[in-house]
Amino acid sequence: MNKQFNGFRGLRIVGHLLRKEFLQIFRNRGMLPIIFLIPFIQMVILSNAATFDVPEVPFHLQDFDRSALSERLIERFTSSGYFRMTGESFARTKGIDELVSGNASMVLVIPEEFEKELVSTGHARLQLMINAEDGFTAGVIRGYAEEIVGSFNQDQPALIPRSLDIGNSPPGIEIRSSGWYNPELVYSDYMVPGILVVLVTIIGLFLSGMNIVREKEIGTIDQINVTPIKRWQFITGKLLPFLIIGLAELTIGLVIARVGFHVPMLGQYWLIFMVASIYLLVLLGLGLLISTVTDSQQQAMFVSWFFSVIFILLSGLFTPIESMPHWAQNFTQINPIRHFVDIMRRVMLKGADAKDISQPMAILAIQAIAMLSLAVNRYRKVSS
């Protein structure tokens, strides 16, 4: 009976702590607007800005053939919407100059006898010089160019005036690819689930740790520590508000994703919220841990920043994990962001159920338990 009463009172103290915490959060005029602007800004700006599309590649033309066929090929490039011609010249070195000066990202060189060779042998050569300062962009440009040349090849029989009647040549093997789960390869479909993860991460990692360090910095922690508030009550009172805010942010983000970006949601919402809660516990634990080893908000901010940059870069959000070196791929296994990004994409785009994502979910759960127990253990009301 007495124990029950104590438990009830214990929870009431957590309630008082929560009330105080929310009072302070909603009174913080510097932070409150940001907390609620983050989802909008991230979703609207980042999802649109962080795409892999390279719009209107400026290219320089060197057409040494000047034939009807080369004319047609150039037209394919300029009318594709992917390329924009910035100039034309006939001196080899001029093409390089254009790349160096940045006027063009690609030089298209059509050699002499292009048409003649193509008509007589069915093969012809083209040269593409691409600025590969940024390897990723260069790859995308190359992809565009190959696509255009490929489709030009397809249509080639109709374009080439048939002087010789050799009969119907068999069509070559045609590859048709189709992207599953994201058939139109819409980048926002791919990015938005990941951006949602970043959103939850910012709230979970930065706000929680900073909050406790702030109490240290302004000395209020002393006043709290001399009260009979127990360790679990204080920690619950500190972590729960940010768990709630994190999930609220996720809700806003999901609404924007569905309404604003029409990102498919093939899986279950409850599953996403459940995983998000586990994930937030990992981050809140990390935030709490950081707050126990730092003395000022500046230090805590710096350490949190360090972790979040590494985790985000190695999360597969912007660069595929498959293209990382082996050791980095192994490292991503301990990266909570990687697993949450993975789960978000699988649940939203593929409709994965709890069983499908059981492995990454288990990893997150283990991390949550490990991180929280470590943090709770490190937190002390008495210093020695």
Partner: protein
């Protein structure tokens, strides 16, 4: 009466600095006990140990019969601690701070109203103001209120009047006298000597050591040499003139005059006047005075072998 607070050989190091170096003293129940010391004397470290926020490296402390190391839980519900730095939530209002600290101690402002009423009525007009926007005096009153809201048996007040105007300081000490009459034991630290005489007993803390512990009159009795107050129109020159006098034991400015002690048991006033006249200071008035607490403190510090002043 039993002791409300006992410490034995408290020692606390921060790196190479010894903040406390063997502090042993006890405070009787119902006593208003003052700890006097300059900045860096170790006052805050002592209070943090007694408030169960810090563990000593050596020695032990017993607060209200409980060991600070083993029974910190029991101490925390029975002690009201007011840190030197204002440590309430600046972004919460007066009422919100009070309610918060009342509820986490499992009580309410109403239940303790009789105890805090005198302070609370002064705070009430500012009930909805944020704690951070209060004046220094009001902040201290709020902090005292929060420290009292759970009806502690012992108040630990670390420099409660630092940075507070003279009127508020007077009011504050009047309140302390009232709480003492209600039977609450009070341990208070202050850098102001004039406040020391208001304590039942007091102790001097200097560089982590206790130099003296007695009643205010007992403390001043430690001062054995005849003390003189010397004043003249050109007051500012007296100190340097006296310091070059061969029989001077000490000379320091004190209010309107200069306090002087002589190396000899019986000083020669005429010789002193002649010396000052030779330095161009005329119209000298010399009176023998009773030493105050500050005089005693200064002489005790000077008797201590000089140690390097720790920083930080």
């Amino acid at each position: 009466m039993s002791d409300a607070l006992v410490t034995e050989g408290l020692l606390k190091r921060f790196g190479k600095v010894e903040a406390l170096n063997g502090v042993a003293f006890s405070v009787r129940q119902g006593e208003l006990f003052g700890i006097i010391g300059a900045d860096g004397a170790g006052k805050t470290t002592l209070f943090r140990i007694l408030a169960t926020l810090l563990l000593p490296d050596e020695g032990r402390a017993e607060v209200l019969g409980f060991d600070t190391r083993a029974s910190y839980r029991q101490i925390r519900t029975r002690v009201g601690y007011m840190p030197g730095r204002f440590s309430l939530y600046q972004d919460l209002s007066v009422a919100e701070n009070l309610d918060f600290f009342a509820t986490v101690f499992g009580t309410s402002v109403e239940k303790s109203y009789d105890l805090i009423r005198d302070i609370y009525v002064q705070l009430e007009p500012f009930k909805n103001r944020k704690a951070g926007q209060l004046s220094g005096g009001m902040k201290q009153k709020l902090a005292l209120c929060c420290a009292l809201v759970h009806r502690p048996e012992l108040l630990l007040l670390d420099e409660p009047t630092t940075g507070v105007d003279a009127v508020s300081r007077d009011e504050f000490w009047q309140m302390l006298q009232r709480f003492r009459q209600l039977g609450i034991t009070i341990l208070v630290s202050t850098p102001y000597m004039d406040e020391a005489s208001l304590c039942d007993r007091l102790a001097f803390l200097q560089l982590g050591k206790m130099l003296a512990l007695d009643t205010p009159s007992g403390i001043t009795n430690l001062f054995r040499k005849p003390l003189y107050a010397i004043s003249a129109d050109e007051k500012h020159r007296i100190v340097s003139a006296l310091r070059s006098f061969q029989h001077t034991a000490s000379a320091y400015a004190f209010g309107d005059s200069v306090h002087y002690t002589d190396l000899r048991d019986v000083p020669d006033e005429q010789e002193l006047i002649a010396w000052l006249a030779s330095k161009g200071i005329s119209d000298v008035r010399i009176t023998r005075i009773r030493p105050g607490i500050e005089d005693t403190f200064i002489s005790l510090i000077e008797q201590e072998p000089a140690r390097e002043q720790p920083h930080g």
